[in-house]
Amino acid sequence: MTEIGKPVPQPTPESQPYWDGCLRGELLYQHCAACNRAQFYPRSACASCGATALEWRRSEGRGTLHAVTVVYRPPSAAFKPDVPYAVALVDLDEGFRMMANVLSAAPEAVAIGDRVTVTFERRGDIALPQFRPCASPGEDL
């Protein structure tokens, strides 16, 4: 059987600065000065007002779970060793939302409203943003 690994994101010119940031351990997002909105995922223009002068900002990497599911039947063999694993939509404190796994020893206990903090998983030439539960209220600050 051919061993196929987990999917590795292929950066585009638009997303390259984001993935470069991840390799430095920084979670970047776009900010639109024209309408003062945070934008994720990276695009060539603001999806709210169309402005093209977007600024890259660094997120503190902390957020709250807006939705969460636990996968028992993975989409490919590469994810089988991880089952069950949590997939979540994370609302970052800077005002943008992204999908990621919540890396927890107890994925079934991960719940909406939980506070999480970013960590990076090395996958090929990519550092993939992931989240882990905040260990203490202090870490949440």
């Binding site: 987990k6 292929q10 585009t12 599911t69 636990v70 993975p74 490919s76 992204m98 999908m99």
Partner: protein, 389 residues
């Protein structure tokens, strides 16, 4: 919202379908042709009368120009041909497109057809992998969601906000199976209970196996005729009174809300164009890729108040004798799901209900039908209002 005047409204003059389930020995093009020939014959036409062909797509036998390939296979030389891709909304969107073609005078009789062989034509793992790629390749797919996981995220949020229970979701699956048991062509006809659903294995919390639609082989077809050409058809009574679409996102991580979707706008536009309210609908055929899909759509579209669909469904609201008989063929959950053909079966069933040809599952005197398809992760929406003259 003004639609075409009554005298110009498109007629759904013919319907056809294959049985759904495992169809070994068939090909994707073969089942397209089988459903298409049945629909053309049902309309009382010959294939030489067809001057428009709309097709969807196939994962099993991919073609860049499926509508041209299907026309060639059938031996039709249409004046208008188009392949469309809108996920599960494709079936309804093709009907809407066909109606615009005949109402504008471009075409007289448009064949709408879709089919795939997702059960016997590809491995189960292959189907799971192919469909999971609907996610964003950089910002979703690397995290390993399967299709139920995308909907599991939606379900988690909905249940968090509205307090819906797994039992309420299970009632949807049970109702769909009961309806499928009355359709000889349905993929799964054995009755199930709420306990069966709750005991089925977890796929992506909170969704269990029996909360998920089937993977089937099958095809469906509809002939849409111009009002002034429908005199030559066998039955010209079924008119499209209204159609509407609504689109808010493609990827679930970009959805502006996880409890209210473009189905709200799609149904408002379709019902508004038809000049009717949800309360006037006699029978509903609404996309049910997962139990949660149907629950949320029913509320988002105004058939039930927010938070009230779950208890109402548990009390029998979607049954044949209920307040809103829904998915009378068994839907994607039990009749079967074969790509765009899955959504098109909802249209086929609506026409049969309005003609009074639904046999044991007939809703008495059904005169007004509402049909809805959604594609992606509740992303692309198209609603139709059909009526018997």
């Amino acid at each position: 919202m003004a639609g075409p005047p009554p005298s110009r409204r498109a007629r759904l003059s013919g319907v056809g379908d294959t049985a759904f389930g495992a169809l070994p020995g068939s090909s994707v093009l073969g089942i397209h042709a089988q459903a298409a020939r049945q629909a053309i014959a049902d309309a009382g036409l010959t294939q030489g009368d067809v001057d428009g062909v709309l097709c969807a797509y196939s994962l099993v036998e991919p073609h860049l120009m499926l509508s041209s390939v299907v026309a060639e296979y059938l031996g039709i030389r249409p004046a208008y041909s188009l392949g469309m891709m809108l996920g599960g909304a494709t079936g309804c969107a093709m009907i809407m497109q066909a109606a615009m073609l005949v109402e504008s005078g471009r075409c007289r009789h448009v064949l709408v057809v879709a089919g795939d062989m997702r059960l016997t034509g590809m491995s189960r793992d292959g189907a799971v992998a192919a469909l999971a790629r609907v996610g964003h390749p950089q910002f979703e797919v690397p995290y390993g969601p399967n299709i139920p996981a995308y909907y599991g995220l939606v379900a988690s949020r909905y249940m968090h906000e509205q307090g819906a229970t797994p039992e309420q979701l299970a009632h949807i699956a049970v109702t769909m199976r009961r309806h499928a048991g009355l359709h000889p062509g349905a993929h799964m006809r054995e009755p199930i209970t709420v306990a069966d659903v709750l005991a089925s294995r977890m796929i992506a919390r909170p969704l269990r196996l029996l909360d998920c639609c089937l993977v089937s082989d099958g095809a469906a077809a509809v002939v849409v005729s111009a009002a002034d050409a429908s005199g030559g058809t066998r039955d010209s009574r079924i008119a499209l009174l209204g159609a509407g679409q609504g689109h808010t996102h493609e990827h679930v991580s970009q959805a502006p809300s996880l409890t209210d979707f473009g189905c709200h706008e799609a149904s408002s536009r379709a019902l508004g164009e038809a000049g009717v309210t949800p309360a006037a609908v006699d029978v509903a055929e609404i996309y049910d890729s997962f139990t949660i899909t149907l629950l949320i759509e029913l509320e988002s579209m105004g058939f039930f108040a927010k938070g009230e669909a779950g208890p109402a469904i548990a009390a029998g609201a979607l049954g044949l004798a209920g307040r809103l008989p829904t998915n009378t063929h068994g839907g994607l959950l039990s009749f079967g799901h074969s790509g765009a053909a899955g959504g098109l079966t909802h249209v086929v069933e609506a026409v049969r209900q309005l003609r009074g040809e639904a046999d044991a599952r007939q809703v008495p005197d059904a005169r007004l039908a509402f049909v809805h398809g959604d594609g992606g992760i509740l992303s692309a929406h198209c609603s139709l209002v059909l009526a018997r003259a």
